[in-house]
Symmetry: C2
Subunit: 455 residues, 2 copies
């Protein structure tokens, strides 16, 4: 049976199985969903067993478990280590969802749910592609699955797991579908990822909330101060204004930038799609450069004082913000976290107290385009899309790519089938059925090519 | 029976009646408490009737009702119009209360509850002082009560009520207890109030929440932009940086400022009380000046993006803030609201959309110290505190003082018995039993003095 025939016969089941997985709210950031995250791990284990994996195990960590499974066809065959994650982002703001985030619906040939693309949908393509190869007796490589539950909170315990399981995880390449491509008719493969340093800051003024009439003008208002401190983190050219921030930033050559600029991109469509009158970013760089080869600093959340209806004349005691920085190759999260912390404390006026905490970080990564694995992926996409995929740097971060290189000595192929418009991390996340099925179709070709090219 | 004897005999009941009133959560800012606000009006009506008032009526408005009641002893006697409010501020942040805000408790001779001081406690002193004068046959003036339910949301419908009831509200002076005094052993009378202009702003960047990796650096982050806009609203001397803002500000003479500086004040105690390493405010003005004769701009609340536990790598679509300005005599709220709106829109970069809305405003006011009413209040405090009260400007706003002057031609005496440390508008609001009973004791002396001095 051909790949395409198998998919045609089973696609309704493939979709329904994914919908079931999406119904479990595996929000790793919120302790209230602990039970659901564990339940999702159980479910992933069950699906791997059903698809034909051996030695399937829920490997406990200090946090959420890693689900491991494998199929070893022969010691001499090449081995592909598939990584994915079963946890999802929090769904808020809930009121902007047009359907409940954990009650998936199909509209216009797209599956709407939190995790539909990131990463349950993309991860599950590998489980179904594996099932396909097992059922059609075409699995040409050894395969190992490592599906974790803490990607959205920084993969805190994956490093320990990987270090403790180096033998079990031995492979020739890591294959991950947790990125996107340019468009359904413009396939691309991500070859660069930004790193991440994610901070939380708290500014305290007076020791309690105060009446803004009685105290207004005489004490430091922590919200005003926090705004001033945040505002000072960018200069007039929208460069990050933290001493040393750009010291190690990789500078691309004019040729490299010219090559990048060839990727199809319409600024008008970009603005229209986001309903923007104007774009905004670092002077002297294009939009595509701003989201790939340049580091950034963004406030991801801010809160303080009265947020209810109407008016409350209060000076808050505290104001807080979550601030993250995307990093490029050679900027390490540890170094940037330290620079940020030192700088943020140094710019606080004496009239407030400042607390700076680091959430997770991750290294930037660049993956090679001259490897056998990259070529196998490139050829697989050519087969199923009828076009050569474009190598592309992405603005997102998958910190574990650097981890796998460091601990396992393995390069990664970022074999993503999502689109920027899938609204991952946003309300109304969705994943095209075209993309889901195209992934299941393309992955077996990767295995076939990789086995042949490795000979 | 003397005033003091009547209070001694009835003080437990006076306290228990106030506690009952505090149990009704009359939060005018939150529509969820609508029923409770109306219920509080009913309760105030009942209490006025029981104390001996005539023609007690719940006067409906477009919002919450005004409770009116009166006792006319003779057409030739002077008339005192008592104003107060039965609505309260929202209690949040709830987790900072050591006891529930609407379940009053007495600790260290203080009543803890939302509204204990502002203004249920201070308003109810007048009801009990009235009862005392009725029961001891000592009421020397006509008295009219006007107790509203929208003070904490800007008294939106009081103007209409006052205009429609000019005859009924005819009086010689307005008496209000909704301010404080310097300390329990330093009586003072408020003679100036700041005005208020309260705004809400919303900054919109992209049309939906975005992944901060994929879009970070290329689109305007509305939180960063809002912070930059807010930061720009003060200059390096902490002056409000809105064109025209200071144009009409009343400038006090060196002599006036020297007179003000005589009020007892310890900066060390002020800082210690608020746990501040340093104060913060407009250059070249003292703390007391900053909160009385100078206008201010404070952010009262800010929100946007992810505020939950952990990390979410999102660029929010919107960020919002509540921003209020305290005004001094000659600055009108309408003018300042217009200046703010125009300026805030003008400083927005093209990459965002800005919405500016006005909440309530109020005029600043200065009350005379050479009136019969002021002298009657001064003498009453001398009798019960044994010390001449200090005339003092306050930083707070009671916009209705200007309204009464304009519509009824009446001056106001701000006869407050609260303390700055009562934490009004904050968690753990409280009111000293000493202050509550001292108010009930002092008010009848005001009536006695005012009747005698008016002859």
């Amino acid at each position: 049976m051909t790949i395409q025939n198998y998919i045609t016969e089973n696609k309704d089941r493939f979709i329904n199985e994914l919908l079931d997985l999406l119904r479990i709210p595996s929000i790793s950031a919120d302790p209230n969903y602990k039970e659901s995250v564990f339940k999702t791990a159980d479910e992933v284990k069950k699906r791997l067993v059903e698809a034909g994996a051996d030695n399937v195990e829920i490997c406990q960590t200090k946090g959420y478990p890693v689900v491991y499974g494998e199929k070893i066809i022969s010691p001499s065959s090449p081995t592909v280590l598939v990584y994915g994650h079963y946890d999802v982002q929090p769904p808020d703001p809930l009121d902007l969802w047009t359907s409940p985030p954990f009650d998936p619906v199909i509209k216009d040939e797209k599956i709407y749910a939190r995790g539909a693309c990131d990463d349950k949908g993309q991860m599950y393509m590998h489980v179904k592609a594996f099932e396909l190869m097992m059922k059609t007796n075409t699995l040409p490589c050894n395969i190992k699955f490592m599906i974790e539950g803490e990607e959205e909170v920084g993969s805190d315990n994956l490093g320990t797991f990987v270090k403790a399981n180096k033998d079990r995880l031995k492979a020739d390449v890591v294959l991950i579908s947790d990125t996107g491509m340019i468009a359904n008719d413009i396939p691309s493969i991500t070859v660069g990822l930004r790193g991440l340093s994610y901070m939380e800051v708290e500014v305290t003024g007076p020791n309690r909330d105060l009446h803004s009439g009685i105290y207004g003008g005489a004490v430091a208002n922590p919200i005003n101060i926090l705004c001033e401190m945040i505002a000072s983190l960018h200069d007039k050219d929208n460069k990050v204004n933290i001493p040393g921030f750009y010291d190690n930033v990789e500078i691309l050559s004019t040729e490299e930038r010219a090559e990048m600029a060839k990727a199809p991109f319409s600024l008008d469509e970009y603005k229209k799609h986001l309903d923007l009158s104007d774009i905004h970013g670092e002077t002297d760089y294009s939009t595509n450069e701003r989201v790939s080869i340049r580091p950034t600093l963004d406030v991801n959340g801010i809160w303080g004082g009265y947020q209810g209806e109407g008016a409350k004349t209060v000076i808050a005691s505290k104001a807080s913000a979550k601030i993250s920085m995307r990093l490029v190759p050679n900027q390490t999260p540890d170094e940037i976290t330290a620079l940020f912390t030192k700088h943020f404390i140094s710019i606080a006026p004496k009239s407030v107290k400042v607390k700076v905490t680091a959430h997770h970080g991750g290294e930037a990564a660049v993956t090679p385009t001259d490897s056998i694995a990259y070529k196998a992926a490139d050829k697989a996409m050519q087969t199923t899309f009828g076009k050569k995929p474009i190598p592309q740097r992405s603005g997102g971060s998958i910190p574990i790519v650097a981890l796998f290189e460091k601990e396992l000595g393995l390069k990664t192929v970022l074999f993503g089938f999502g689109l920027d418009s899938d609204a991952i991390h946003s309300p109304n996340e969705h994943y095209g059925i075209f993309n889901y099925l195209k992934g299941i179709e393309t992955i077996p070709y990767f295995f076939k090519n990789f086995a042949e090219m490795s000979k």
